[in-house]
């Protein structure tokens, strides 16, 4: 193996993790499924790896309608947890559509949300990438950009976010709890992420050493019977999304009272489809309303040379997802 060696240390507790994680050149290790790939590919070369996988943050708890997922809960444990499977099937479905059985046994909730993009220009040391090497340029802009973003990208970076779980949690209005030098903070999941702007190497709003401790989902069981995660990919399993859509509806007396939609694989972060949502509320879940929601989902799409097919794919995925759940009580 040619990758440079690193120092391994195990965080004694959360405070120790923050102290060690704040040091320049250190990276956190949880499940390791992304960090080790990035290290072997030469994309990341940490001087120190701070193992947080043994910290007591693997809880899955459901009390009074509040679902709490510890940052170190394994994806497979979350997906098979009875309270998740029964009252939050969208989360279970998104996880079961992610990675493989082995990876789901290793990967954690926090690590999944912080996984790096699958953009081939980021993952290949020999190609230009502003995210990996600021100022190097974006090779995908004029290169192979089939999987590039339709929304939220700019000339500096067109990479997409790869997490399925993040898309599902976004429509459930999940909040992230983080802990760092400044103490504990809690904020809506989308606020974890940054658009590339002029600093695509900065993907999150976490401070140095700050780490995710948990995820909170409140009062989401009302969507349990009327949610779906539709993932479209190049092969049927163990593949990242080309386009995905998470959708939940509440239909009362034949009229949509609540609608939430988000798309994956199309933006640097889980992309909430707010205009589609607004157009659905107050309407019957019929073909016309669903078609309008599909049209509005793609209204602001900005394709590059090779990813234009994702526009029609996204529109149809929104329609298919809403058709799937629109007929349910």
């Amino acid at each position: 193996m040619n990758s440079p060696s690193f120092q391994y240390s195990r965080a004694a507790d959360l405070s120790d993790a923050v102290i060690q994680g704040s040091r320049s050149g250190n990276a956190f290790l949880a499940g390791g499924t992304d960090l080790l790939q990035l290290w072997k590919a030469g994309v990341m070369a940490p001087q120190g790896v701070v193992d947080i996988s043994h910290l007591p943050l693997a809880n899955v708890e459901y009390v009074d309608g509040q679902l709490a997922l510890g940052a170190l809960a394994r994806l497979s444990d979350v997906a098979t947890h009875p309270d998740v499977a029964r009252d939050h099937p969208l989360i279970a479905d998104a996880i079961k559509a992610s990675a493989s059985g082995q990876i789901r046994n290793m990967a954690t909730v926090g690590g999944n949300l912080l996984q790096r993009t699958r953009c081939p220009y980021f993952r290949n040391q020999g190609l230009a990438c502003n995210k990996r090497l600021p100022g190097a340029g974006c090779g995908a802009l004029s290169g192979e950009n089939r999987q590039a973003a339709l929304f939220g990208a700019n000339m500096s970076c067109v990479a997409t976010h790869a997490s399925d779980l993040a898309v599902a949690l976004t429509v459930l209005d999940a909040e992230v709890e983080v802990f760092g030098v400044a103490g504990r903070r809690r904020f809506p999941l989308p606020d974890l992420y940054r658009l590339p702007a002029e600093t695509p190497e900065r993907e999150t709003n976490l401070a140095a050493g700050e780490l995710i401790t948990g995820i909170h989902v409140s009062n989401a069981s009302r969507f349990a019977a009327c949610s779906t995660y539709l993932k479209i990919r190049d092969r049927a399993s163990f593949e990242f999304a080309v386009v995905s859509v998470a959708a939940v509806l509440r239909v009362e007396n034949g009229v949509i009272s609540e609608a939430r939609l988000a798309a994956g694989g199309v933006a640097p972060l889980p992309w909430r489809l707010s205009r589609s949502e607004a157009a659905l509320v107050g309407r019957a879940p019929d073909a016309q309303a669903i078609g309008v929601a599909g049209d509005l989902a793609i209204a602001d799409a900005q394709p590059l040379a090779h990813n234009g097919f994702k526009i029609e794919l996204l529109r149809n995925a929104v329609i298919r997802a809403l058709q799937t759940i629109g007929g349910r009580p």
Partner: protein
Amino acid sequence: MSRSSSINVSLKINGRDHEVSVAGCDTLLDVLRDNLGMTGTKKGCDMGACGACTVLADGRRIKSCLALAASYDGRSITTIEGIGTWDNLHPLQAAFIRHDALQCGYCTPGQILSGLALLDEKPGDLAAIREGMSGNLCRCGAHPNIVAAIAEVAGL
């Protein structure tokens, strides 16, 4: 590679305790193969894609190429060396032979370990087996026979 800061790691492998000195960046796969001489676990892609390195950690299947050995200190690991014997094959190993579920055999240890873990998850039909085995690639293309072998042991 600098091995200046070696770490002592305790692993229970196939029921036997091992103390091994590793570098912080050594993967569980490399420690099994290179430090302990247990070469039944295979290195394919070394990037978590092919599943040849699949082992069980406390009964759950993982990819040992994406696991740091130091992080698995104190854990129970099961490798292909701990499954069946020459004279008394595990039923899944016997089913692999009956169904001709291998050609070159390089991916087979990982397929067996992954299949054993999948059987514990109680797949309900052939589609669930195909989906459940998507983390193990067979370059020889024995997938239909692998699915058939697992299905037989699952009673499907």
